[in-house]
C-alpha cells in the first residue's frame, strides 16, 4: 500500500492550488459584503505564498535532477 500520487502529481496540484489561492488573495476585497465566512486576508496571502514557494521548490528539484542526470 502506498500513496498513489507521484512527486510530479503533487507538484502539479501545488501549482494549481497556488494559482487559485494567489488570485483569490489578490482579488478578495474586505468590502465584498459577504460576512458569513470571515477571512483573515493576511493569512490567506501567507498560505498562497507558501503553496507557491513549495511549488517552486519542486521545480528546483526537477531542474537539479535534469542537470545532474548522467
Amino acid at each position: 500500500m502506498q500513496i498513489p500520487l507521484s512527486f510530479w502529481d503533487i507538484s502539479l496540484w501545488l501549482a494549481v492550488t497556488a494559482i487559485t489561492l494567489l488570485i483569490t488573495a489578490e482579488l478578495i476585497s474586505p468590502y465584498y459584503g459577504q460576512t458569513n465566512l470571515l477571512i483573515n486576508k493576511k493569512k490567506l496571502k501567507n498560505a498562497a505564498l507558501t503553496t507557491g514557494i513549495l511549488f517552486l521548490i519542486t521545480v528546483a528539484i526537477r531542474i537539479y535532477g535534469i542537470i545532474t542526470a548522467p
Binding site: 500500500m1 502506498q2 500513496i3 498513489p4 500520487l5 502529481d9 503533487i10 496540484w13 492550488t17 474586505p30 468590502y31 460576512t35 458569513n36 465566512l37 470571515l38 477571512i39 483573515n40 486576508k41 493576511k42 493569512k43 490567506l44 498560505a47
Partner: protein, 269 residues
C-alpha cells in the same frame, strides 16, 4: 408551532458563524482524510487528488478564519465616552487653541505621544525639561497636556508596519500610509497623502471610524482642538516621523459623507 418568519428568526451571532465555519473545516478534514485512506487502499489517484484537496481546504479554512473579531457597533459604542471626557476638560479649562502634537524630542518616552493645548495663540511650546507625561497643566507657557485619543491606534500602526515612526520620515509616511490603512489594516477603501510645503493633506475614503468621527464633530472643542481618533493617530505618526510639532488644521467630510479630508500643519519649533 409558529412558522419561522424573517422577524422571528434570530440572526446568527458572530460566535455561531465562526462555529459553522469551524464545523465545515473539520468536516472537510474528515472527508479528505477518508478519501486519502481509501485512495491508498484502492490505489486510486483521482481519490488521492480529491482527498488532498479536501484536507488542504479543511486546514486552510481553520487557518484563515480569525479566532475573534468585534462588531463595528461595539467599537462605536466605546469611543465617544472617552472623547466626551476630553470635551469636558477642555470646556472647563477654557482652552480654545488648536492642540499641538509634540515630537519625541519633547518627551521623556520617545515612543509615547502628547498633545499640548496652549491657552493663548502664541504657538510657544514648553521646554522639553518642563514636560512631564504625568502632568496635565503647564504653567510656562500656560496650557494643558493630554494623551492623544489616537495614541493607541498609532502604536498599532507601528506594530503592523514593524517599525517605529521615530525611525521614519515624511516620505515613508507618504509611501506606506495608504497601503497600511487599505491593505494591511483594512480601515479604509482609499487613502491619498499630499505634501505641500508645511501642509500635509490626507484624504481617507470610506473608513471604519466615520461614525466615531461623526460623534467627535458633535463635541466641538475636541474636534477643533485634537481631532477624532483616526486624525489624531495620523497626527501622532506625523509628529514622530517629522520630528516637528504638528497641528490638525482642518478636518472635513465630503458632501456625500464618504471621504474625510484632514489637513495637518508642520510647525517650526
Amino acid at each position: 408551532m409558529p412558522k419561522p418568519t424573517e422577524d422571528n428568526i434570530a440572526p446568527k451571532t458572530p460566535k455561531q458563524k465562526l462555529r459553522i465555519t469551524e464545523l465545515t473545516a473539520y468536516a472537510l478534514l474528515l472527508l479528505g482524510a477518508s478519501a486519502l485512506i481509501t485512495s491508498i487502499i484502492y490505489t486510486s489517484s483521482i481519490l488521492a487528488f480529491i482527498g488532498l484537496g479536501l484536507t488542504f481546504w479543511g486546514v486552510l479554512l481553520l487557518y484563515i478564519t480569525p479566532t475573534r473579531y468585534v462588531k463595528l457597533d461595539l467599537l462605536n459604542a466605546i469611543a465617544p465616552s472617552t472623547l466626551a471626557n476630553i470635551e469636558k476638560m477642555l470646556t472647563n479649562s477654557k482652552l480654545n487653541e488648536k492642540g499641538i502634537y509634540l515630537p519625541p524630542k519633547y518627551l521623556r518616552d520617545f515612543e509615547s505621544s502628547l498633545v499640548f493645548i496652549p491657552s493663548k495663540n502664541n504657538k510657544t511650546l514648553p521646554r522639553p525639561e518642563e514636560i512631564d507625561e504625568e502632568k496635565i497643566y503647564s504653567k510656562n507657557p500656560e496650557g494643558m497636556f493630554l494623551t492623544p485619543p489616537g495614541l493607541a491606534l498609532s502604536k498599532l500602526f507601528e506594530k503592523e508596519l514593524g517599525t517605529s515612526f521615530t525611525k521614519t520620515d515624511l516620505n515613508y509616511i507618504r509611501n506606506n500610509l495608504p497601503k497600511l490603512l487599505i491593505e494591511d489594516m483594512e480601515i479604509a477603501e482609499n487613502v491619498e497623502v499630499e505634501i505641500k510645503d508645511n501642509l500635509i493633506t490626507v484624504e481617507i475614503a470610506n473608513h471604519i471610524f466615520s461614525e466615531i468621527c461623526q460623534e467627535t464633530r458633535k463635541l466641538q472643542k475636541t474636534h477643533e482642538t485634537i481631532g477624532c481618533t483616526l486624525s489624531s493617530a495620523i497626527a501622532c505618526a506625523l509628529a514622530k516621523a517629522t520630528g516637528k510639532p504638528i497641528t490638525i488644521q482642518k478636518e472635513e467630510k465630503s458632501q456625500d459623507g464618504k471621504t474625510t479630508k484632514i489637513q495637518y500643519r508642520i510647525l517650526e519649533d
